[in-house]
C-alpha cells in the first residue's frame, strides 16, 4: 500500500496520515535527478582534474535532458507541475516576498510566487549553462555536437560566461534551500520531504487529480521524445568533422627521423618560426646532435611549414602559438605549457615511464593527433625500480 502511495497520482482529497498528493512522480524524479546532475557538474567543473571533463559532460547532457523534459511537462503534467499553475503577476510576487520577509506566508498548495520565480530562474540559468557548455565543448575541445561549427575563439569567450553562470547557479541554490527551510518553518510543512513523497500533510491542499496511468504514459512518451530527439541531434551533428582539426597526411620520414628519439611532436604544437628555427639547427638539437642530410631537412621543413600551429584551431595550437621569447623553440617553455603543468610535481616528469617534460605521449594518450583532450590525460603511476 505504501509503495503504491509513492506513485499514486491522486488520493482524491482524503486527508490521511499520508497527506495529499501535490507533486507527481515525474516532477520528483526531475527534481532529484537535477540535484544529482547539478552536484556532479559543479564538483567536476570547479574542483575535479581536467580528465573528469567527460563526467562533467555527461552531467551536462543529463541536465539538458531533464530541463527539456520539464519544459514540456510544464504543459502536459499534473496540476502543480504546469507552468500555468505558478505564473503570478509581479505585484503578487513582490507582495509575497515582502510578507515572506516579515515571517508570514500565504498558503499555496503548489509553488508559491517566490518558489515559482526560483523555478524559472533555475530553468533559465541551467538552460544557458548547458547551451554554453556544448558550445565551449565544440569550440575549445573540438568535441560534441558543435565540434564542426564553433571556433576556438568563441569557445574560449564563453568559458567566462559559463563560469559566471555557474556561480549564479550556486547562489540560486543557496537561496532556494534557504527559502525552502524558512517556508517549511513558517508553514509547518516539511517541503523537502514533500518533494520526496509527493505529499503535503495539510489536508486543506487540493490534491492533483490526473490518474497515475495518464501521468506515467505521458511522462514516458515525453521522455522518449526528448531523449530520442536529443540523441538523434547529437548523432547527426557530432558526425560533422571537427572544424579545428586539419586532415594531416602522415609523414613517414617525420615519424621515423624525429620519432626514433622522441615522441614525434604534432606539427600543430609550434608556430612556423619555431619549426624553422629547429630545422635550421639540428646539429645542436636541445643538446643533442640530430643532424640530417640536406635533402631530408628540406622535405621535413616544408611539411612542418605547411602543418604548423597557424593552420590548426585546437586548444593546444591556439595556446602554444605564444612561445617563450627566451626559448622560442621549446614547447615546454611556452607560458601556456608552464601554467597548465604548474601543479604537477617535478618528480613526476622524472618517473622512469615519463622521463622528460617532452614525453607528451606518456600522459596524453592522444598526443599523436594533436587533440590533447582533457579526457585523454592519464598520468601513469610510477613504476617501481626493477
Amino acid at each position: 500500500m505504501s509503495d503504491i502511495s509513492l506513485i499514486s497520482g491522486a488520493n482524491h482529497g482524503k486527508a490521511s496520515a499520508r497527506g495529499v498528493r501535490i507533486w507527481d512522480l515525474p516532477v520528483r524524479l526531475f527534481h532529484w535527478g537535477l540535484v544529482a546532475g547539478v552536484s556532479t557538474a559543479l564538483v567536476t567543473g570547479f574542483l575535479a582534474e581536467e580528465w573528469y571533463l567527460y563526467i562533467h559532460n555527461w552531467a551536462g547532457y543529463t541536465i539538458a535532458f531533464l530541463i527539456s523534459f520539464r519544459l514540456i511537462w510544464g504543459f502536459f503534467g499534473s496540476k502543480y507541475a504546469r507552468f500555468a499553475s505558478f505564473i503570478f503577476t509581479p505585484k503578487e510576487t513582490i507582495g509575497h516576498i515582502k510578507e515572506f520577509a516579515r515571517g508570514n506566508s500565504a498558503h499555496y498548495s503548489g509553488h508559491n510566487p517566490a518558489g515559482a520565480l526560483m523555478v524559472f530562474a533555475l530553468l533559465a540559468v541551467l538552460l544557458l549553462l548547458t547551451v554554453s557548455g556544448v558550445i565551449i565543448l565544440g569550440g575549445q575541445e573540438n568535441l560534441g555536437a558543435l565540434a564542426g561549427f564553433v571556433s576556438f575563439e568563441i569557445g574560449a569567450f564563453l568559458v567566462e560566461i559559463h563560469e559566471l553562470l555557474a556561480w549564479s547557479l550556486m547562489l540560486l541554490i543557496i537561496a532556494h534551500v534557504a527559502g525552502m527551510i524558512i517556508e517549511s518553518r513558517i508553514s509547518g510543512e516539511n517541503l523537502a520531504r514533500a518533494m520526496v513523497t509527493g505529499n503535503k500533510k495539510d489536508a486543506s491542499n487540493q490534491p492533483i487529480t490526473m490518474p497515475v496511468s495518464t501521468i506515467v504514459l505521458r511522462a514516458v512518451v515525453i521522455a522518449a521524445i526528448v531523449g530520442g530527439a536529443g540523441f538523434a541531434l547529437y548523432q547527426k551533428y557530432s558526425a560533422v568533422p571537427a572544424s579545428g582539426l586539419v586532415k594531416l597526411v602522415p609523414n613517414e620520414t617525420y615519424n621515423s627521423e624525429c620519432g626514433d628519439c622522441h615522441y614525434a611532436y604534432h606539427p600543430s604544437l609550434l608556430p612556423r618560426s619555431s619549426w624553422q628555427g629547429i630545422m635550421a639547427n639540428l646539429e645542436n638539437h636541445f643538446g643533442e646532435d640530430a643532424s640530417l642530410d640536406a635533402e631530408t631537412v628540406k622535405s621535413l621543413s616544408a611539411w612542418l611549414n605547411e602543418n604548423s600551429s597557424e593552420i590548426w584551431d585546437t586548444e593546444a595550437a591556439n595556446n602554444l602559438r605564444k612561445v617563450s621569447p627566451k626559448a622560442p623553440l621549446s614547447i615546454s617553455e611556452t607560458p601556456y605549457w608552464q601554467s597548465r603543468h604548474s601543479e604537477i610535481n617535478k618528480n613526476v616528469f622524472k618517473q622512469t615511464n615519463i622521463g622528460t617534460k617532452g614525453n607528451c605521449i606518456a600522459c596524453h594518450s592522444d598526443a599523436k593527433t594533436g587533440r590533447f583532450d582533457d579526457a585523454a590525460i592519464s598520468i601513469p603511476p610510477p613504476k617501481p625500480n626493477t
Partner: protein, 133 residues
C-alpha cells in the same frame, strides 16, 4: 645421405660464420667499409671501442654504453625516454641494413661521444662486434 648433407652444410656455415647473424643487406654495408679499409676488422677491437670511456665528446655521453647499456643485447634509452632496440644483430636482425642510416648514426654519435668523426677502422670494428653478437 641426409646426415652427410647436414654435416657438410654445417661445416660450410661454420666456415662462413664470421658475421653469424648478418643478412645480405648487412653484408653489403660491411662490404662498403671493407673496401674503404686498409686492414681487416676485429670484433674484439669493436667490443673494446664500445665499452671504452672516451673524451672529447659531450660530458653526458662519454661512451656508447651511456645510451645503449653495457651489453649490446640490452635495450637502451634516448634522452627523451624512447627505447633503443638492442644493437646486437641477434636481437635486432634488421639493424645495419641501410648504409645511409648507419652513416647518419655514426656521424651523430661519434661527434657526441668522441667529439669527432669515427675512422673507417673504428666503424668496421664496431660493426664486426655487433654482427657477432
Amino acid at each position: 645421405m641426409k646426415k652427410t648433407l647436414l654435416v657438410i652444410s654445417t661445416a660450410v656455415m661454420v666456415a662462413l660464420a664470421a658475421p653469424a647473424f648478418a643478412g645480405a643487406k648487412q653484408d653489403a654495408v660491411m662490404d662498403h667499409y671493407k673496401k674503404l679499409a686498409k686492414g681487416s676488422f676485429s670484433a674484439e677491437r669493436g667490443k673494446a671501442f664500445y665499452s671504452a670511456v672516451h673524451t672529447g665528446g659531450k660530458p653526458a655521453t662519454p661512451s656508447c654504453t651511456s645510451c645503449h647499456t653495457k651489453s649490446p643485447t640490452g635495450t637502451g634509452q634516448t634522452r627523451a625516454n624512447k627505447p633503443i632496440a638492442p644493437m646486437a644483430l641477434s636481437k635486432s636482425p634488421d639493424r645495419f641494413g641501410d648504409l645511409k642510416k648507419v652513416e647518419k648514426w655514426f656521424g651523430r654519435n661519434c661527434r657526441s661521444v668522441l667529439g669527432r668523426e669515427c675512422t673507417v677502422q673504428e666503424k668496421g670494428d664496431f660493426l664486426a662486434f655487433m654482427y657477432s653478437q
